[in-house]
């Protein structure tokens, strides 16, 4: 299925290659570079490129391209999803998925790729099983290893692969039995000039961290399960139970995993927690313009909106900006024309604003379109959809676990047009 994999950085160096079947020459990547040249921006390279003998399916993650070489017809989503899983695994192992991290750990990277694919087919991709096969590098461990001479690899077979439930190993033991759930919701929205919502929806996930001994059988119920529009499940969840009773019933994997992801898309249910007042104008035949934005809270259910950052891609003709923030700090990069305003928290008494003048290239025509504002924010202890966990019950084991649920709301692709 996947013949070879090339990792390419933004400046076009192939810094890692791995072949599962015969060796495919690096020159196959020339087709990729050609496509990259054609696309004005590196990020605009289409994910599927055809070459005379192969197809190249690539993903772009953290300024790296993962380019896979395909020789037979494949389901594209399968390959794309797998490549993302590879990147996720690197992230998981090295803390970041960057060229430096991969080069530093090149030996582990090869070990991982060897275990994740055999003959081009995905084998072990579950993080907890991989970690038993190949121990992730930590500073402490490498020190210990160099003293004791013990290896980086488990020399026993991961037991999980032999249990009847593929995602859980047998014989798990913890002294503190804990089960934590994070309900994380991201708001994707487009707000138009006048402040009305063009489009809004919530993408939610429930991530779990389960450290429970034995074979616990959990069921998680919600106060308002009907809220969830479109739910997709971890394979451990019993689908029939959800269909009949709207209860999540499952034997959990050990460790961290994503329990469900869901969507809330009916627009009247999506609260928009911030509003923006903006006045951005460029005068005809003049080399300056005005810029004035103010941000305020709205529909935030009494919680504080924090970690606010506003990013604006200004038009090409903007040379520089002279602005004064009432709160936080701003930077303007005259090369990429990106304005970033780091605000922090909103206090309703004094709304943060950023105003000033924009210097334009003299003689250039006035920009046709006003820039869009991209906004990032966070609200702790609130699921903006109103989703609430009702209770968590455990069967099959005798001990009393410690349970916790945390809610957090974030901005996803939150865009305000001006």
């Amino acid at each position: 299925m996947i013949h070879s994999l090339f990792l390419i950085n933004c400046s076009g160096d192939i810094f890692l290659e791995k072949h599962w079947k015969s060796v495919v020459s690096q020159s196959v990547c020339d087709y990729f570079f050609e496509a990259q040249e054609k696309a004005a921006d590196v990020e605009n390279v289409p994910p599927v490129i055809s070459t005379p003998h192969h197809y190249l399916i690539s993903i772009y993650r953290d300024k790296l391209f993962f380019v896979s070489v395909i020789q037979t017809e494949v389901p594209p989503l399968f390959v794309i999803e797998f490549l993302h899983r590879v990147a996720d695994t690197f992230q998981d192992y090295f803390g970041e998925c960057s060229e430096a991290a991969i080069k530093d750990n090149v030996v582990i990277v090869y070990e991982l790729l060897e275990e994740m694919l055999d003959n081009g087919f995905p084998l072990a991709t579950e993080s907890n099983i991989l970690k038993e096969l190949i121990k992730p590098p930590t500073i402490l461990r490498s020190v210990v290893n160099s003293i004791t001479g013990s290896s980086n690899v488990g020399d026993t077979l991961p037991t999980g692969q032999l249990s009847n439930i593929p995602w859980r190993r047998a014989g798990v033991k913890y002294t503190n039995n804990e089960a934590y759930f994070d309900v994380i919701e991201e708001i994707d929205a487009i707000i138009d000039k006048s402040g009305s919502t063009v489009f809004a929806e919530i993408q939610g996930v429930i991530d779990a961290c389960i450290k429970l001994s034995g074979m616990p059988d959990l069921s998680l119920s919600f106060m308002n399960p009907r809220l969830l529009d479109d739910v997709s499940f971890h394979p451990c969840i019993r689908f029939k139970r959800w269909e009949s009773e709207r209860v999540l019933s499952f034997i959990p994997p050990d460790g961290n995993f994503r329990l469900i992801s869901y969507r809330v898309s009916s627009q009247n249910l999506v609260a928009i927690p911030v509003y923006v007042k903006h006045n951005i104008s460029f005068k005809e035949n003049s080399s300056c313009g005005r810029f004035d934005i103010t941000i305020g809270p709205k529909q935030n259910m009494g919680k504080t909106v924090e970690g606010i950052t506003v990013t604006v891609h200004m038009p090409k003709v903007v040379l520089n900006m002279n602005l004064t923030p009432t709160q936080g700090s701003y930077t303007f990069d005259p090369v990429t024309k990106v304005l970033t305003w780091d605000i922090g928290k909103i206090t309703p008494q004094k709304l943060p604003s950023l105003k000033g003048l924009v210097n334009l290239q003299s003689g250039a025509p006035k920009p046709e379109e006003n820039p869009s504002l991209n906004i990032q924010f966070k609200i702790q202890q609130l699921a903006i959809s109103g989703l609430k966990v009702n209770r968590l019950d455990m069967y099959g084991e005798k001990y009393k676990p410690f349970k916790g649920v945390k809610y957090i709301t974030k901005a996803g692709k939150f865009q305000v047009r001006t």
Binding site: V23, Y60, G149, L157, Q161, S232, E368
Partner: protein, 738 residues
């Protein structure tokens, strides 16, 4: 560390590997080996220390073993004689008590890409298949496939295949999936692994145990199984129901395809399935991963072909966000254009209007063309938006708008007046060939209603020497000649100058020939020129070719969840020539027809004019009969003419129907694509009221189509004309196909 040339590095490492002190100290020994691997991955040639590395594999340290195996697999093809030494060690490791070592050794042995290794690996693989550790069995099963690939074309080992089939019952789910994968490769010349009823049901029962990759692949293999009865079919669908709800988009897509294929006899089930996966697809469309998003959008477009209104209520999902890459934005614009209905048309148009001024010229033009597509239904609103865009005086925008106008005027004649009012002034802002051609065409065809048309064309004639695109010159010749017919006084002089230039000075042969052709045509007299050049100014029926009518799900289901929706099939067929079965190839051509329909229009335009304008023989459009009337008339008449024409491939009723309707031949009944025997009944009527009834019977074995025509009045001349029209149409369809 001081900088060392690669040779020095190799020497130094070689020395370190031989040093008994280092060999005795495990961490240090491993460290040296890690450095070897590091250099190897950076492309330094490390093959000269192969001997030393083979020695290093004799260790209890599993990491060290792994690294050495990695090294050996890379360099074995370069050092086949030394690699045999390595095989010895590997064979020994294949019977190590630790299953992990056994697995690793076996995998590395199968990975040695060198000739002659098969005889050594056969026995360890066979042992591995019966190993008690599932880890080893997984490796051994795939090892069978690798061994087969090393053999090349040699015969398939029946015993091995049977063993693999029996391993499909293995306890370990990954061994099961690996067996399928291995069998698929080994049996690829025989059409891959066979899925019979027991295997299919066994796999269905194992589904819940598999990981997402396994599930996705097994769903793909299950496509080969055809349930015997309706009950069995629905039992299978029930079992797989939860796959449609999986968190992995790959599984959802694979399951959707399986559902659509299995339920091909039950269109309502297919529709239900598409409704069910609407949610997961929409989630994928707004996924964090832009590549997933792109793939999902491509599939949404496929689905929209069969269920045009399917995503209409979610149209806002397809609004572009500022930070998305272009390839996603372009897909979204295409989708938006297909989602329009009475309720959302206003919002969608406003949104598209915003994209028209995007910094990216590609996106702006795509948005303008999308508005042009919507204009076929909502003409007035769209023409107004497009007219307003002209005010911006941007080259790429004006060019795209004028091109859209040209197509619109052809398809929706009612907007001609508005377009003609908008045109003056455009010529200043058009530089590219496509835009110029469109503008010149409009000026030529509708010149009599645009006051300054001759003067605009005059400017083009003045600068014709500097014109770089031959296509523009051709268009200019035709347009000026047409305009000359309606406004001779203003055009005569410049037509003369243009013809003079084209004939005497032009270097491009095609343009010169066209000039000569028109010159000679003018010599035959103005009436003749009018007869030949003045074709109808619009023909909405041509829109049928472009506006693909709703297509059944089965027309695209075989391409669902493949690379085809993301890339044109024709390219793929060329690449994987070994697996192109005939039916696939033909389908590729089918899609080719539709994807290039844009250019078809312009070709057909010229091709079909003589047909409908030949004067002496004309088919009239109102020759519609009901099926009963047709049958009655058919039975009452004698066969007037019979003929056999060449034909290739399956018949695509849509294409045929569309093509026939363009020349006013009315299909009464058509068989579905692929049905044997394929038949079609057609009726047509000429100006004199004579009916022509036709039966087409496809004979795929001899690549022929049998044609029998019956006639209500006995007129040989009309019959011959009708048959020639029909033959041209069939010829055109066959041409398109090949």
């Amino acid at each position: 560390m001081p900088y060392l040339g690669s040779e020095d590095v190799v020497k130094e490492l070689k020395k370190a590997l031989c040093n008994p002190h280092i060999q005795a100290d495990r961490p240090r020994y491993r460290n040296v080996i890690q450095r070897v691997i590091r250099h190897m991955t950076q492309g330094v040639d490390m093959s000269s220390i192969f001997m030393e590395m083979v020695k290093a594999s004799a260790t209890v340290d599993i990491v060290q073993k792994k690294l050495v195996y990695l090294y050996m697999c890379t360099y074995a093809p370069l050092k086949p004689d030394l690699a045999l030494l390595a095989i010895n060690t590997l064979c020994k490791d294949c019977s190590d008590p630790n299953p992990m070592v056994r697995g690793l050794a076996l995998r590395s042995m199968c990975g040695l890409r060198m000739p002659g290794v098969q005889e050594y690996i056969q026995q360890p693989i066979l042992n591995g298949l019966r190993d008690k550790a599932s880890y080893v069995r997984r490796v051994a099963v795939l090892g069978c496939a690798k061994m087969y690939n090393l053999h090349g074309d040699s015969e398939v080992d029946g015993a091995l295949v049977n063993e693999l089939y029996s391993l499909l019952r293995d306890q370990d789910p990954i061994v099961v999936v690996n067996c399928l994968r291995a069998l698929e490769e080994i049996l690829k010349h025989e059409g891959g692994v066979v899925i019979n009823k027991p295997i299919a049901h066994h796999l269905l029962n194992r589904m819940p145990d598999l990981d997402q990759w396994g599930q996705a692949e097994v769903l793909g293999f299950l496509l080969r199984y055809q349930p015997r009865s309706e009950e069995e079919l629905f039992a299978i669908l029930n079992l797989l129901d939860s796959s449609l709800q999986s968190s992995s988009p790959a599984v959802v897509m694979a399951a959707t395809k399986l559902f659509l294929v299995l339920a091909k006899e039950f269109p309502h089930v297919q529709t239900d399935v598409l409704v069910r996966v609407k949610g997961p697809l929409l989630t994928a469309c707004s996924s964090e991963s832009r590549e997933l998003c792109f793939a999902a959008l491509c599939h949404v477009r496929r689905i929209l072909r069969s269920l045009p209104g399917h995503f209409s209520s979610h149209y806002k999902k397809f609004f572009c966000s500022y930070s998305e890459p272009h390839y996603i934005k372009l897909q979204k614009v295409e989708v938006l254009c297909e989602l329009v209905n009475d309720e959302n048309v206003q919002q969608v148009l406003e949104e598209l209007r915003d994209y028209c001024t995007d910094v990216s010229a590609d996106l702006a033009q795509a948005a303008i063309f999308a508005i042009g597509g919507i204009a076929r239904t909502y003409t007035d609103q769209c023409v107004q938006i497009l007219t307003e865009l002209l005010v911006l005086r941007q080259e790429h925008i004006t060019s795209a708008v004028v091109q859209t106008f040209r197509n619109l005027v052809w398809l929706c004649p009612q907007c001609t007046e508005a377009v003609c009012r908008a045109l003056p002034g455009c010529e200043e802002n058009i530089q590219d060939s496509e835009g110029k051609q469109a503008l010149i065409w409009l000026l030529g065809v509708h010149g009599e209603t645009i006051p300054n048309a001759p003067y605009v064309l005059e400017d083009f004639v003045e600068s014709v020497k500097a014109e770089t695109f031959p296509a523009v010159k051709m268009e200019l010749l035709t347009a000026l000649l047409r305009l000359f017919l309606s406004r001779p006084a203003e055009c005569q002089d410049m037509l003369g100058r243009l013809l003079y230039y084209c004939i005497e000075e032009e270097k491009d042969m095609a343009v010169r020939d066209r000039g000569l052709f028109y010159y000679r045509l003018l010599l035959t007299g103005i009436d003749e020129v009018k007869r030949i050049l003045c074709s109808p100014k619009s023909d909405p029926s041509l829109g049928l070719l472009e506006d693909q009518a709703e297509r059944p799900v089965s027309s695209w289901v075989s391409e669902f969840n493949t690379l085809v929706p993301m890339y044109s099939k024709a390219c793929w067929a060329a690449i994987s020539s070994l697996q192109v079965s005939e039916s696939r190839g033909l389908e590729a051509m089918g899609t080719g027809v539709l994807s290039t329909s844009g250019s078809l229009v312009s070709e057909n335009k010229e091709e079909l004019q003589p047909l409908s304008d030949s004067g002496s023989f004309l088919l009239v459009p109102n020759g519609q009969l009901t099926a009963e009337q047709f049958e009655k008339t058919w039975l009452s008449l004698e066969v007037a003419h019979q003929e056999v024409l060449p034909w290739q491939g399956v018949a695509h009723p849509d294409t045929i129907q569309t093509a026939l309707q363009m020349v006013n031949i009315q299909p009464i009944a058509l068989s579905k694509a692929g049905v044997q025997p394929w038949k079609a009944y057609l009726s047509a009527q000429d100006g004199a009221g004579c009916l022509f009834l036709t039966e087409l019977l496809l004979d795929p074995e001899h690549s022929q189509v049998h044609l029998s025509v019956k006639q209500s009045q006995d007129k040989t001349e009309a019959l011959n004309s009708f048959i020639s029209v029909l033959k041209t149409v069939i010829g055109t369809i066959v041409d398109i196909k090949s």
